[in-house]
Every structure is written in C-alpha cells, then in structure tokens.
C-alpha cells in the first residue's frame, strides 16, 4: 500500500516558510495559500472512535460537509459527502460507512469534541505534464475543546509531506530534503492525539468501568469511600447529558452509577454508621426511581428496529403509532426527570453525600461500635462478601429444574446481580484475567436470566401500551394486531430462554469456574458479620 503522510513539527513559522520556499525552489511546482479552514473531530462522550483507533473528521466546504473516518495513522477508512454533520450513526445514508460506524458508536451521539482551525500553504510538486506527484503542506493550527469552558490553544507548527500513489521516488526526494537538509524529525503522535495532548484532554476517561485502584490491606471504609467517590463522579459526569437527553447512554450510565452506589452501601456491610447507610440508601433509591420511567421508554425506543424486524412486512408500518407514542411519553417523562434533577432534594443529596465522602474516616477504635467492619482490610471484606454471594447463586441455581416456577429464576437473577456488582466494585483487588473470565461467565448467565425476565416485562408493558394507545386514540385495528403479534413472538422467545437456562447455568457452575471462584475468594478463617 501507499505510504502515509509524514508530519514534521517545526519550531517557528519563519522556519516553516523558509523550508517551504526552498522546497519550491528545489522542486518545480505550484504554491497555493489556503485561507482559514475549520474542521471538527466528532466522537462519542466516551470516545468510542478514538479508543477504536480512529478519528472522524468533518470539514465543511461551502454547502457540503465532508466526513472522513481515518485510522489514527491517517489511513483512510471511509469518506462521505453530506449536507450536515450526522448526530447519530443512523443519520448517514445506508452504506458500508453507516454500518461500520453503527457497530462502533451504536446508540451514542456524535458530539463535536474538538475544533481545529488551520491555515497555511501547499506546494504541489508537479511533473512535466503539470501532474501533481507529491504535496508539501505548511500548516499552523489551533485546537478548541468543546467542554463547558472551551479553550483554544496553538498546535505545533507542521510541515506535512503527502505522497501520491505510484510516485514513491518523488516523495522520497521530498522526505530526504526535510530530514537530511532541514534536519526535521517526524512527529511521534497522530494529529488527533497531538491536539488532545495540547488541550490536556484524556480520552480514556469515562468508559463505564470502575477504574479505582484498591489495595487489599486498605481499610474497608476507606476503600468503600474511594469506590463511592468514583461513582459520584460518574453521576456528575453524566448529568449534563441526561438533562439534555443527548443520547440514551448518559441516563444508562447515570443509573448504573446510582445502582452501584446503592449496592456498595448495602453489600459492603457495617462500614459506615447505620444511620448514614439508612439515609443514603433511601435517597439513592429515590434517585433510581426518578430515572426509571425515562429509561424504560428509552429502552423501548431502542428496541423498535428489532420489533419491526420481528413482524411481517405488511404489519411493520402499523408500528409507527407505537413509536410516536413512545416518543411522546419519553419527552414527558424526561421533563419530569429534569425537574427532579433541578430539585433541592437532588442537590442536597449530592452535596451531603460529597461531604460525607470527603470526611476523613474515623480514627481507629472510635469506629468499632456502630461500624464494626470499617477497619478490616478490604481484601478480606471483598473475598468474604463475594464468596457468600457466589455460594448463594450456586445454591439458588442448583435448586432450579425444568419444573421450577418463574419466580425462582427471578430470585436467581437478583442474586446474580448482587454478585456482579461485588465483582465489579472489587475488581482491582484480584487478578485481571481471572476476574475477566469470571465476569464474562457470569454475564452470560445474567444475559439469559435478564432476557427471560425482560421478555416477560415486555409482554406486559406492550399490552399496557396497547391499552393506553387505544385510549389516547393512537391505535388502529392494524396497530393492535401488530402489537398482538409482537407479544406472541416475545412469549415464544421467552420460552426459548427458559429452555436455555439449564445449559447456561451448568456452564456457569462448571467445575473450572467453581475452582476459580474458590481460588480467588474462599477464605479459611471465617469473618464474623
């Protein structure tokens, strides 16, 4: 394949111009100045494209927007001409570009992350036929972050040598001039990384996984506070996106952080004073409930393409009223949610929670009375809690057979959830690979149990939607028929999940996994709880 452009930082504009000028004396060609050009890097809130090793750059030229998806090293992947920036992957016209983008960013909104303004001059190196055989760009640029306080900073001044396929010799001559005569050294990072570094942005942050690093000998209350602080930060990070309803993942991640907060409060027992636990448990339960209705509707909206695909073609269009109904109610519920986020109750909750977390943990001994587990090393607490939760999952799961009632699966689902939260909260205490394997195994079982439960809830909910839509005058006979068909499909899918359960559980409870759990978490001296 063709070599990529090589970028050379150069210390000053004067030096850059000089270099361009002497290159133009050496190589016949045409010099062209270009006016300010603005381009924007698009990426999701959690930098999915960047973390996937690429960048999505949009530049507007008159009335058309050109969108380029490149590997970070500059290799082009996809390019498209559009009327405007896409807000979501599905805004692109049907194409391989859209499919590939969709598989990386999914439901996340493409935010304007970074704006680049550049100007400069280009030397088009020409052959005897006036054919361009290489290009040399001289570029000065600045980058603007798009946060709450956007700042603009100058980027390194660059000379960029651009090859053209089939003219390797001409390109090499250009590179030799830059490297041998001008003594320039190629930049070590790609343009986006360079801009991020200049602005001091850290794109690896906010991926949803806990990053807090615990040490086994740390006091349990200290460790729990660290976990809670990180979760509080996740709540704050996602709040603005929730308020603006930028995409459904903000609320999803917000809710996960709230649930993990509650689960750490209740699952890591006797480390905070009981009145503190009681108070915040209630408050975060309220916050969880306040966000529930919007999330439910988000989920149904996300399921719509799948629902449509489930139905025969002649019924598909009759699902449109459901979509409208969902959108209308989602807007309503979202407005209510924003009211809750604007409430004093919410701001006081976060404030008092923050101040509790910031309080230093009590000195030794003073804690013993009402939080007896506070000073135990967290490594011990974690193993103890996880082992117990795991034993409960095993026992509950083993008691289920083909004839057990659905409630037994629901109970197991809840037990699995508790185990999962504990594994995630304490992940950093254990071997990364082993934890990865166990979480993955548990996740498979949870997916099965989750789907089983979810499919049941969906049937009930769709029936109640049908009822409401009928009352709101949104449902035609065909729409009701389509919904009926859908409920039937969901019912048979639920039965399939029930069928699968025994197999999935057996996999999770395999001898290998059991010995893994034992090796990691079983303790020989028991800790009184």
């Amino acid at each position: 394949m063709n070599p990529q452009s090589v970028r050379y930082p150069i210390e000053s504009q004067i030096r850059g111009r000089e270099a361009l000028k002497s290159a133009s004396e050496r190589f016949p060609g045409r010099l062209k100045t270009h006016p300010d050009r603005r381009s924007t890097y698009l990426d999701t809130f959690d930098w999915r494209l960047y973390r996937d090793g690429g960048s999505l750059l949009s530049s507007t030229d008159g009335r058309v927007t050109v969108l380029r998806w490149n590997c970070l090293d500059g290799t082009p992947v996809f390019r498209a001409r559009l009327r405007a920036n896409p807000e979501f992957a599905w805004d692109l016209p049907a194409s391989p570009f859209r499919n590939a983008l969709d598989s990386v960013v999914e439901m996340r909104r493409l935010l304007l992350r970074l704006e680049i303004t550049s100007r400069g001059e280009t030397l088009h190196v020409l052959d005897a036929n006036q054919k361009t055989v290489a290009r040399l760009h001289f570029e000065t640029a600045s980058a603007t972050g798009t946060g709450s306080v956007p700042k603009t900073l100058a980027l390194p001044i660059l000379l960029i040598a651009e090859p053209i396929r089939g003219y390797a010799r001409e390109f090499q001559a250009l590179v030799d001039l830059l490297e041998d005569e001008f003594q320039l050294q190629a930049a070590s990072s790609d343009p986006l990384t360079m801009a991020l570094e200049t602005l001091g942005l850290e794109p690896s942050a906010s991926s949803g996984r806990l990053t807090v690093q615990l040490a086994p000998e740390m006091r349990t209350d200290e460790a729990t506070k660290r976990i809670h602080k990180e979760l509080l930060q996740a709540i704050l990070d996602n709040e603005e996106g929730v308020r603006q309803d930028l995409d459904t993942e903000f609320l999803h991640d917000f809710r996960v952080a709230v649930r993990r907060t509650r689960s750490a409060l209740t699952q890591i027992k006797k480390v905070y004073p009981p009145d503190v636990v009681e108070h915040f448990k209630r408050q975060f339960a309220w916050l969880g409930q306040a966000t529930g209705p919007t999330r439910d509707l988000d989920v149904y909206l996300l399921k719509m393409p799948d629902y449509r695909a489930t139905l025969p073609e002649y019924l598909q269009t009759h699902l449109e009223p459901l979509q409208e109904f969902l959108i209308r109610h989602q807007r309503l519920e979202h407005r209510r949610l924003v009211e809750d986020l604007d409430s004093q109750r919410y701001s006081q909750l976060l404030e008092s929670w923050r101040s509790f977390l910031d309080d230093p943990v009590p000195e030794a001994a003073s804690a013993t009375s009402d939080s007896p587990q506070a000073e135990i090393p967290v490594g011990k607490t974690a193993s103890n809690r996880i082992w117990k939760a795991y034993r409960r999952v095993l026992k509950q799961g083993q008691s289920i057979d083909g004839g057990s009632p659905p409630e037994s699966l629901h109970r197991l689902r809840i037990d699995c959830k508790k185990l999962r939260y504990l594994l995630e909260l304490f992940r950093s205490l254990y071997d990364k690979q082993e934890m990865g394997t166990l979480v993955k195994a548990l996740k498979r079982l949870q997916d099965n149990l989750g789907d089983f439960n979810d499919l049941e809830v969906q049937q009930a909910t769709l029936q109640s939607f049908a009822h409401d839509m009928f009352q709101e005058g949104l449902a035609t006979v065909e729409t009701l028929m389509a919904l009926g068909r859908l409920v039937d499909r969901l019912e048979s899918r639920q039965a399939e999940e029930r069928q699968r359960f025994q197999r999935e559980f057996a996999k999770f409870a395999s001898r290998k996994n059991r010995s893994r759990f034992r090796a990691l978490f079983e303790q020989h001296e028991t800790v009184a709880t």
């Binding site: 063709n2 050109v66 082009p76 996809f78 390019r79 498209a80 001409r81 570009f97 052959d127 036929n129 006036q130 054919k131 361009t132 053209i164 396929r165 089939g166 003219y167």
Partner: protein, 248 residues
C-alpha cells in the same frame, strides 16, 4: 468492488468522457475508485496528466507477471486512482489469447483489487474483439453512451442481441443518450421517451457541449473545473441515476 465498463462498438461516442467524469464523481462522493484505461490511445490517462506507460508493457501485466497493484497511480483527486494505458495494449488480443481461458483472464487479474476499491471503471477502446469479450466477463455493468441517431440505436440493438446470446453470465446493459443536440428534431424525438429504444435506457441525457471537449485542454474531469456547468450537472444526475438504478 463493482466493475463498470464504458463500452460501445462505435468510436468517438463519449465513452472516455463518461468514464473519466463518473469516476471523478464517484470518488468525490467518497467511494474508493479506480479507472483502468484499456485503450492504447490512452485518452483517459491523458485527461489525468499521467504518462501512458506501463513498466514492462501490457503483456506482462495481462499475463499476471506484474501485479496491477504496482502500476496504479494516484490522480490529483482524493480517492481516485488510475491504471494507465500503454501503447502495447494494441496487442492485447494477442496477449490474452495466449492465456488459459482468454476471456476470463481480465477478470482474474482484477481479483486482488477487489478489497482496495469500491468501484472500477474500465474505459474500453471501440470495436468488438477478444478484449471486449473479456470486458463482458469482468464487468458487472456496461454503460453504453448512445448518440440519438437511427444507426447508433441499431448498434445498441446488435450489442444487446450479442450479449443475450452469451450462455455465461452477462453484464447488465445500461445505455444512455449522449451528445444530444436539442436543436435537431431527430434527437429531440428520440430523447422524448428514452426507454422506448431500450428497456434499461437511463432517463438522463448528456447534452452536446463544447465544455466536454475542453477536458482535453484542461486535462481534468469536467466537474473538477466546471462543477456547475450544464453538462457537469448532467453527469451528476447520470451518476445518481445509476447509483439508484443499481441500488448501490
């Protein structure tokens, strides 16, 4: 990779202008595009200011002794590459006939390019020969520029019949009217209902315009130097119609 060939038994009907302009538009819209100038006269190569020369000549290339890959050259336009013509292509028939299955040889050579490009345009020399038979095997679509005269329409019929007789898979035939002069009443009459002359005839017609001839002076695709001119717009709508017709 989808392969288009601009083809007509007749010469001088606008095959090269079509290949060059459509390839340019396809690349501009973001598709990775390659144009292979199969005509020893090298008109398409000339339009891109590239030297009509293939190292080692056409024979090595056609026998698979030299990969196409290293012969490809980037044009001045993003996403658009060209495989240059070579004067030795005039012996292409002879070079092909010496390979095992002569009519499949061209298609075989294209295989390694399939992942590198979304669209390939083959710009063919006029005539019907072993080369054109090979093109019929390699191409998914034949774009046939047709001048609205009785004789040209007859040639189109001949081509259609010739393709129908082939037992192997045949390319889809997409003819369109070009070099249309609205002042001529015959042109006007034929253009009134294009599909009467062929069921697949495209609706878009390319007008006769001296701007198209200027491509030879400017040595660039027409929409690159006169994007808003009438014939450029005609090529734009031709490309859009093709994309829609094939649901690309």
């Amino acid at each position: 990779m989808r392969v288009f060939a601009t083809y007509n038994i007749k010469g001088g009907v606008g095959k090269t202008a079509t290949a060059v302009n459509l390839a340019y538009l396809s690349a501009r819209d973001g598709a990775r595009t390659l144009i292979w100038d199969l005509d020893p006269q090298g008109a398409a190569t000339f339009y891109f200011r590239i030297r009509a020369k293939v190292k080692g000549g056409g024979r090595k290339l056609l026998r698979g002794k030299r990969p196409l890959d290293v012969t490809i050259r980037g044009t001045d336009f993003e996403g658009l590459d060209l495989l240059p013509a070579d004067f030795t292509y005039r012996n292409m028939d002879l070079d092909l006939v010496q390979s095992k299955k002569p009519t499949r040889q061209l298609a075989r050579l294209l295989l390694p390019l399939a992942l590198q490009y979304d669209y390939l345009f083959l710009d063919c020399a006029p005539s019907i020969s072993l080369v054109s038979e090979s093109v019929f095997v390699a191409a998914d679509v034949l774009l046939v520029p047709t001048i609205p005269t009785t004789l040209s329409l007859r040639t189109l019929d001949q081509l259609d019949r010739h393709l129908q007789e082939r037992r192997t898979t045949r390319p889809r035939l997409l003819p369109f009217l070009c070099m249309v002069d609205r002042r001529k009443s015959l042109h006007k009459r034929i253009c009134a209902s294009p599909h009467e002359h062929h069921p697949e005839m495209l609706q878009t017609v390319i007008p006769y315009s001296s701007l198209v001839e200027q491509m030879g002076l400017r040595r660039a695709p027409l929409p690159a130097f006169a994007p808003l001119a009438e014939p450029s717009m005609a090529y734009e709508s031709l490309w859009t119609e093709i994309v829609n017709r094939l649901s690309l």
